[in-house]
Amino acid sequence: MSIISIGVSGLTAAQIALSTSSSNTTNAYTAGYNLQVATFSESTSGSGVQIASVDRQYNQFVTSQLNGSISTESALSTYQTEVDQIDSLLADGDASLDTLMQSFFSSIQTLTSDASDTAAREEVVGAAQTLTSQFTQLGSYLDDMASDVNSQIDDQVTQVNDLTEQIAGLNKKISLSDALGSTSNALLDQRDLLVSQLSELVDVDVTTQSNGSYTVALSNGLALVSGNDSFDLQTAVSASDPTKTAVTYVDAAGHTTVLDDSTFEGGSLGGLMDFRDTSLGDAQNQLGILAVSLTQAFNTLQASGIDLNGDTGSAFFSVDDPSIYGNTQNTGDATLSATFTDDVSALSATDYTVKYSDTDGYTVTRNDSGASVTSAYDSNNDTLTFAGMSVAISGTADDGDSFLVLPTRNAASSFSTLTGDGSLIAAGTSTGSSDNSNALAMLNLQTDSIVGGSKTLSQTYSALVSDVGSTASKVAGQLETQSGLTEQLTTLQQSESGVNLDEEAANLIVYQQYYQACAKVVEVGTSLLDTILDIS
């Protein structure tokens, strides 16, 4: 082997090393880029040097840990974005619900001072309207959030499908190039970046096959990507609760499986479902029970009193009746409709499931705790009574049919004041225009435990504030911890795979010098040759 060709092998190696360093330098801030290192080895075809390989600095273990952490962080961050909205809704201020409830009762107090004063009566009506409209506003905002969560789930499922399709495509290219013996680092980087982006949406398990392709599976083992194929997620209205969007999985044979919300623990999809099933539902129900309790208690007093016109009082507030949805997979033709009974103290801020079985008839369970609820079935008029509700059943249910009962979910957004006429307030129990005895009872609703028989209105609101506040601050704390973990793992991942510009600058200097040295070798070789030629 000539000196010249030895020198040239060095020049070639230096060029590859320099271009690797240049590539590292230019991609120093590129997302998903992994540091590449040119490995020198002695030339196998004699003397000289060769670049054995240009390798990605990649650690599968750290990367999958990082992806897991990103997934959890993304779930928490999504949850935080949502729950912070409720947190702000409940911020203290002149328009906060507790202030408006106080104004309402304060106006009733004024009414007790002079029940014949029409101005005082109008003030009560005005305060009631302000209160109910604020309730409606908060309730509607929460309802909007619920439908927004559904459409976000739709969007994210589309993004998941998009990403899994791309990953499957890259699997194909990579296994192909693998077979040809030339793996492209850029393709690998790109696929890992997609997996990382997918982890932000949903928590996935990634396994590498022998041909280099990734198998990406959900936490329950269903594969989203397998080899060159990807399997779609879809969205559909939940069978048990038509207010919710459920995610379904379509397998290779085209069969659709409904995925339980618990399948999605991490990722923003998991965060959205967790939020919708806990904080959002709880807030809607707690606001709702405030509205229902005030309505029932106030209307009951109205009915037992006499208004300024000498008539028996009529209903003053109104809320929607409980919503009931039959499971779409029910085979019987029973339909249920519910109304609130006067025994409002039995109400709870939870949803219920009514099931029918041939052996046990109708049974009721609470959805928050799963505990069974005592119910009374009256076969004479086909009525099921439980938890402050009376449910009329028409038609016949089949064994296994189930129904979802939402007593308070929609109450806040439907809360309204029925009259604008102050004279219709039944302040008295006799025809005396200054009879304030019933108004005194109304005033007592402020301090009576009318909510679920154990809490006052204000205590219920305070519990809501406490629940939302502690959830929001708990999530913020968890997010901070998780972000710290992600940052640590990123640093760890970057310590191996990241580009350090100082290092690259050093490399550039070194390889530049190396190139000069190799060129010198060629020059020496040339001059040696010249010497020989000169002799001849």
Binding site: L90, A91, Q459, G469, E487, S495, A505
Partner: protein, 398 residues
Amino acid sequence: MRLSSATIYNQSLNSMLAQESAYQDAAQEVSSGTRVVNPSDDSLAAAQAVNVRQAIAANTQYADSRSAITTSLSQEESTLDSINDAITSAKALIVQANNGTLSDADRESIATSLQGVYDTLVTLANATDSNGNYLFSGYQSQSPAFAADANGDLVYQGDDNAIKQQVSSTQSMASGDTGATIFLSVSSSAGFIAEAGDNSGSVTFSGPTITDTQDANYGTGFSLTFSTAADGTAQYSLDGATPVAYTSGDSLEVNGLSLTLSGAPVDGDSITVSKAADADPDLFASLKNLISVLQTPVETDADQANLSNTLSTASRQLSNAQDNVLTVQTSVGSRLNQLEVLDTIGDDLALSYTERLSGLVDADYTESVTEYTALQVALQAAQQTFVSLQKMSLFEYI
């Protein structure tokens, strides 16, 4: 540990952003003076603050009620004062009328004075508050407490319900009294009243006086009915019992009461003695009756006896009425005192609630300003670090 350039950049950027956000929060706390705005700022404090605000609102409501009741009771108190004065002057007129030397004309003029007192009392009974509500009509505050019927007799239009309001979390209080309580009642300590029937004879009574409260029948009234015995002498029957012979100057001891009679009764005359509370007390009816008797010329012994008996009865009735008004006045006074005590307690509560609320949600300025300053320094440090870190590069030297 090997650090990538991206890590160095991200870490210094993230710490700067974190400092910025903390600095903003601190600035917000200092400028608003409030530590807890959103429930998540301090969920426990936020929830407690809701309860404390509720307590403050309720306390304010009770204070408003007390202020309204104080106004009503003060007006009632001064009205009762005037009623008391009117009764005092009526009593003085009765004393005058008792003077045996008065002529019919003199009595007529006393009657005229009494009519004036009567009219004053009617006006006072139908007093209204600033909203035009009648003070003494109970729940029927839109109708005058007393109105004349077809016979010219005053009839109570209100009901027996004094308006009540909640004045503290545990106590409710009447903001007034009804006309029935003031004008149609006697106090529980009122004694006995003797009243002559529509007599034609000249029998007069003095008393009754209480002689024996231990008497088995003490507390019940009795009635005397006069008749003429077979021998032509006068006799009387006690509560329909067998008649007993009557002598002028007789002093009867019945049911622990003593009643002295004089004059000559005729058949059918009667005298009824009853407990004042059972005798349908009615200040207006008593005065009206008295006025009409004073306007009647005294021509016969029977007239004289009627005048004397009516004056005697009316004198007692007015005393009872006055005692009753004083009793109501005392009750009003004690309610006003209670309100004052409750106000003091309420003010103390308000102060302690406000302090509690402030402790829960307000910023501690010393603490938050210190934190604000510290964070400002920290942010500036983070910014400087960022700039100098970005300058550190080997590329600077090649």
